[in-house]
């Protein structure tokens, strides 16, 4: 697929349809992939990569990219198209300035899961018939493919591209995922157990802001946490409450807008399952106000920006689940 993508990108650059291409390039290690913008055929040939590690969602970069002159080609996986659509809906991306090529999605690999097997000195990882062949400086190792996939891919919600100008490869369907399993499990715990769970998790936070910086819903010109006028600006936590506050408010700010792309948890260096907070909101919204998938379209009203006169009262929180 990588070859087909490079070929198509070169064509579009050559005929002037687009001025830039956003995709991924390799870093120091094979698995160390970062999103990158390419402007020439040479750059594409040299650096462009699309493999089992290109999990990063590039749609957020289009906010800044579409503020520039000219048109950009974006390769979007199914999950990325939801984020893209949501950003178009919020007027953050100028749709006219993007040429979207839908590409097949994951599952993508999580290098941390490979490393967790005690495999170090990794040079390259190849998927051969769902067995990973891992070349290391200590020799070749293998492990089953599905044991190394990203958490977000394991509970993939959709293989469908909700927006594209053309497709490379097949379009898929919305999946019947098990993504709320963990949320449900937590809901069924006692309040004390839930509290203990989150205290353990959130106290690991080092406020590196990676979750915020990667989140396609967090595209504010100026984040409230960086704004002294908001009253909650804070980089280094001044007291024990800050992380808690940060994550609740962040989850609340993206509630009804989060497409559940799972990037927050993917990039968290402390492995905090931040996506669970977002999924809790999504699950509540689905259950209380009707099914809603952010980014599935560009016209529907976000659940928090609308209401129904017969909405439930907050006492519903008392009526369900475990105290």
């Amino acid at each position: 697929m990588q070859e087909a993508m490079i070929k198509r990108a070169k064509e579009l650059l050559a005929d002037g349809s687009v001025d830039r291409v956003i995709g991924w390039k390799r870093g120091e290690f094979a698995y160390d992939i970062t999103p990158a913008v390419f402007t020439t055929a040479e750059e594409l040939d040299r650096d462009f990569v699309c493999d089992d590690f290109t999990a990063a969602n590039v749609s957020k970069y289009l906010v800044k990219e579409t503020q520039k002159e000219g048109k950009i080609l974006a390769f979007l996986k199914p999950c990325d198209t939801y984020s893209f659509n949501q950003l178009v809906k919020e007027h953050r991306i100028d749709r006219e300035k993007v040429y979207v090529i839908g590409i097949e999605g994951g599952p993508k690999l999580d290098i941390e899961k490979i490393k967790a097997k005690g495999i170090t000195g990794i040079l390259s990882v190849k998927n051969e018939d769902y067995t990973l062949k891992i070349e290391t400086i200590y020799g070749t190792q293998t492990m089953p493919f599905y044991e190394a996939i990203l958490g977000k891919c394991a509970s993939c919600k959709s293989k469908k591209h909700v927006v594209f100008d053309e497709l490379i490869g097949e379009d898929g369907d919305v999946l019947d995922s098990n993504r709320f399993e963990m949320v449900e499990k937590l809901e069924n715990m006692t309040a004390q157990e839930r509290f203990d769970f989150w205290r353990d998790q959130l106290s690991k936070c080092i406020r590196c802001n990676a979750c915020r910086n990667v989140c396609p819903a967090c595209t504010c010109e100026n984040c409230v946490f960086d704004n002294p006028k908001s009253g909650i600006d804070n980089k280094a936590p001044a007291d024990s409450f800050e992380e808690n506050m940060f994550h609740i408010i962040r989850a609340f700010h993206v509630a009804g807008r989060c497409t559940d792309c799972g990037e927050c948890s993917r990039v968290c260096p402390q492995h905090i399952p931040l996506h669970l907070l977002n999924r809790k909101f999504i699950k509540d919204i689905n259950e209380l106000y009707g099914e809603y998938q952010a980014g599935a379209d560009t016209t529907s009203r976000a659940p928090l920006n609308t209401y129904d006169k017969n909405d439930c009262e907050p006492s519903v929180v008392h009526e369900r689940g475990v105290e």
């Binding site: 409450f241 808690n244 609340f252 909101f281 509540d284 909405d311 907050p314």
Partner: protein
Amino acid sequence: MQVNENFEPVIVAFCCNWCSYAGADLSGTNRLNYPTNVKIIRVPCSCRVNPMFILRAFQKGADGVIICGCHPGDCHYTSGNYFTRRRITLLYSMLDFLGIERNRTRLEWVSAAEGAKFAATMQQFTEDVKALGPNRRLEDLRCRKQ
């Protein structure tokens, strides 16, 4: 859990100017008693209450937060309390998900004519929060389990 008999909770009440704040005034005019623990902050509409304010209150040591607004359908601004209802329902559900005691937060509709309901609600809420004891869960997330 140890219940401290002398525990006096700090309770912040956000009241919309048109209904609930007037309802609170009415309970005063009618000399209906409720605990001094409750301190009211006037907001134009319950939809003005940002989740940040609620979290900030807990952060700064509040033991309970209650929001009061016009009854659904009676909002002075037509629809404000409908938005409030969604936002606050989701927020309270999230706080519950994080293991924060449910009885520390409440949303109640109190009209300008419901002075008695206001006093009774505050009385009950204060008792509920008192029973829970001081709010610790929202403060010590940094402390790892010993």
